[in-house]
Symmetry: C2
Subunit: 499 residues, 2 copies
């Protein structure tokens, strides 16, 4: 009885702190979607005040008391209750070991950093961004230090995004992936099959919005519990009943907005699939960014680049854009959708070479943290790595080191999740296919419900019960590895480019 | 030196609490502009958590300590410092006398109330709204009770919006206004001059947006420090560098969106004109809702319904909408802009009869608080009063008691400010004209800067130094009275309808 009271009180306190956290997330969404240009400083003050309030709620001393009580009686707790307590302890320690002033300063720095990045990127001015980046790095290291990760700062940043993951584990997985991927990219590059670069042009923004809405709704995104808006860099925020995705539109690159929106739809459906009643506890929390990315990447790639998907949506695309698609055959369209061509820009990259973009960032980040690489040497190191991995050298930092938003607010250690997510997505995909071989025929009929329901049951509703490594083992029966991803890429792209 | 430290510490704490308050305001804006329909419950939890955090910041015991210190040394404070301390004391007492649970519950109720109202209005279902309204009334009375206003609950609600104002003062001003207004409305109703009801039809939303943007920007709204969006009920929120207005568009009533946007522009320019460095203290705070409404109403009515304004914008309107304005003469256009015709809907009302809508609501609100009127009898009482004051009986509650958003979140005592604002606007207008007789010629050239600068200097930058009664006396040399408003209405509308 005493345990149940402590658990109920703890849950209420966690939910309150979580609600303040989601308000902070909404401020972040608003900042990128709506904020007037002159309001950055005022917004920084709001973010700082809110971060302070959130920190106060998360570090409430009573939480420590309830936790101590529950931990003393841990033998009497159910598995789910233990999961909740374990995560709450982790979060509480994180909240109480970080000084309130530090949290406030970091929030201000994050807000300013975003604006400094946007300005530097527009002006192609790395020198204007370098001090911000150095400061973000310093903040990250201080944070790791406060939490007892001194000397393992990059592992700390990785663990923040993917509990249990380390740079060493990632390094091994990525090396194995590289060994299989580099030859494949080389083979495809040598192929005589080439997608038509000009296949899809002049797609009105209004038409794209219409088509995008139809696709994302059909996949299963619930627009009564979410929305989509426009921002410079597509992202997904919010959770449960209020999930907010963004995209952007380019008239001559309709696939860019469509596939980035489907990617965010994958994130969004994961968040909408979490148990709403448990929001704020580990049971209503996603399992880490690699698992999150496995959801976005599966819908974006395994699903939306499949033949089955396009048997359903090709006629709809032609109906919305009759003139623009008149001269494009079914095969040309499918090849454009599955174009493989190295590019300098990660978010424009095809799904084969995409992973090389991630390996590039992972290796640079790692060196920034160990001190092997100085911030000021980053543009040069980026150019060298791009040439080595992608066979391309950025002519300017805007298409090199300045292209990504992540580091601008101190989100280091996030990039690896994208590639880990790709591995997990492929592994989950083959498991789903084994259970439901007719999956692509479902898609051709516009029916995505079997896959969504299977993910709901095995991934979404599980909350944070299992981390990425555990989830892979549990759902697919195999440890996480790059082999399913390599198999998938070779099957799909081999059929197109190498047959 | 000790005083200065206390003042600096107090200011920092006030700014932090204020920043959390503005985040709450942003949540409110978002709720009406962006929130997915299924997210109301989740948002209620966010609002409650934030209200709790804001309350904690505003009731921080250290504020009480600094205040006591400053009040002990009040003789050594400047006028401005006294203003800051006085307002901080008022807010601190308000924050510390309201229990945190009450504040949280009230926030949840406000959020639910808005959605219940929107639903009830759509379904024309007063019975579904009555329990919410009764609960809102109960919350308002409890709040007044906590703050020592027991027995004077409605005065408390008025004072919240307009410091120093009472139901008795308003009753006297409104009675005097009624005596002058009823004959004027009767004379105009008997006039042979009638505006063409169908003059302006088929104005595309895109064209309206374009024209509206040009007008509001020219008047002086700074879009680098604000924005305009669409909501069911137009409003203005935010302050300083982030002011957010809303409007709505009707193809066959282009003047509706234009004038409501100009109204909100008046509010918005006031907020943008507050001293940003002082936000969070009385010196960076508006002077109450009557003064706020004086700004919105002056730009909407005295300015934007004037001949001078339309000498500037008539050619622009015709350029954006050539076909729609082709058959409309300059005089017909001007008469449509200044149409006087009793209507059941307050926000659609002309500026002559508008004040009667307010008097109606003031009298009903007052009786709700004294208990002379029960919530369930409100629809009937509304119908009777509408017939007496406007000569019209609502056929259904949707165009009667369900039309306004205000009471849905417990904003009682707000309506009188609209009419007090009209009085003050007219009084300020004649003072401005006395100083700058060529004002309308400025407008004809598209130059609104003299008026805006004069308001900046005499009203906006004054913050909360003076309340509505003091401001009227100080800026116009006369006590607040309805006579300037009556003079203005008779001059403008007499020339159109009675000459």
């Amino acid at each position: 009885m005493k345990t149940e009271t402590a658990l109920a009180e703890l849950t209420t306190a966690l939910k309150r702190a979580h609600a303040l956290g989601t308000v902070g997330e909404l401020l972040g969404w608003d900042e990128q979607v709506n904020l007037p240009s002159g309001a950055a400083e005022q917004r920084a003050g709001q973010s700082a005040a809110l971060a302070g309030a959130q920190h106060a709620a998360a570090s409430d001393a009573r939480i420590g008391g309830w936790l101590a009580e529950l931990e003393a009686g841990v033998a009497g707790l159910s598995e789910d209750q233990r999961t909740v307590v374990k995560q709450a302890r982790k979060d509480f320690d994180k909240a109480t070991k970080l000084p309130a002033d530090f949290v406030r300063e970091k929030a201000v720095q994050g807000s300013r950093g975003y604006h400094a990045w946007a300005k530097a990127r527009a002006a192609d001015d790395f020198a204007g961004y370098a001090p911000v980046l150095a400061k973000n790095l310093e903040f990250a290291k201080r944070e790791a230090g406060y939490l007892g990760w001194g000397g393992r700062e990059y592992d700390y940043m990785i663990d923040k995004n993917d509990p249990g993951m380390t740079a060493a584990v990632i390094g091994r997985l990525f090396d194995e992936l590289k060994r299989g991927l580099v030859p494949l990219v080389r083979e495809i590059a040598a192929s005589k099959v080439k997608p038509r670069a000009d296949a899809l042009r002049g797609f009105s923004v209004e038409g794209q919005k219409l088509f995008l809405r139809e696709v994302t709704e059909r996949l299963g995104f619930d627009y009564n519990r979410g929305r989509i808006d426009i921002s410079l860099h597509p992202f997904c925020s919010g959770t449960g009943s209020d999930v907010r995705m963004t995209t952007r539109f380019k008239e001559h690159e309709p696939l860019d907005s469509l596939f980035s929106a489907i990617h965010e739809t994958g994130h969004g459906m994961y968040e909408q699939g979490l148990p709403v009643a448990q929001l704020g506890t580990a049971l209503g929390m996603h399992a880490g960014m690699a698992v999150h990315e496995s959801q976005s990447r599966m819908w974006e790639n395994q699903v939306a680049r499949s033949r089955g998907f396009w048997r359903c949506f090709e006629p709809r695309l032609r109906a919305v854009f009759p003139a623009q698609t008149a001269g494009v055959s079914t095969e040309e369209l499918y090849l454009a959708i599955n174009a493989v061509e190295p590019t300098l820009i990660r978010v424009d990259a095809d799904e084969v070479t995409y992973n090389l973009h991630i390996i590039l960032r992972f290796e640079l980040e790692k060196k920034l943290f160990t001190g092997e690489l100085a911030v000021n040497d980053l543009p040069g190191a980026w150019r060298t790595a791009a040439q080595e991995l992608l066979g391309l050298t950025p002519s300017t930092d805007r298409v090199g080191v300045l292209q990504d938003v992540h580091w601008s607010d101190g989100s280091f250690g996030y990039f690896p999740s994208y590639c880990l997510g790709n591995m997990l997505a492929a592994q989950l995909w083959y498991r789903a296919l084994a259970l439901r071989p007719a999956l692509e025929e479902d898609f051709a009929r516009g029916d995505f419900s079997w896959l969504l329901n299977w993910l709901r049951e095995n991934v979404h509703t599980q909350g944070r019960r299992f981390d990425a490594l555990q989830l892979a083992q549990r759902v697919t029966g195999e440890p996480l590895s790059p082999q399913a991803l390599l198999r998938y890429l070779r099957e799909r792209y081999g059929a197109l480019y190498l047959s």
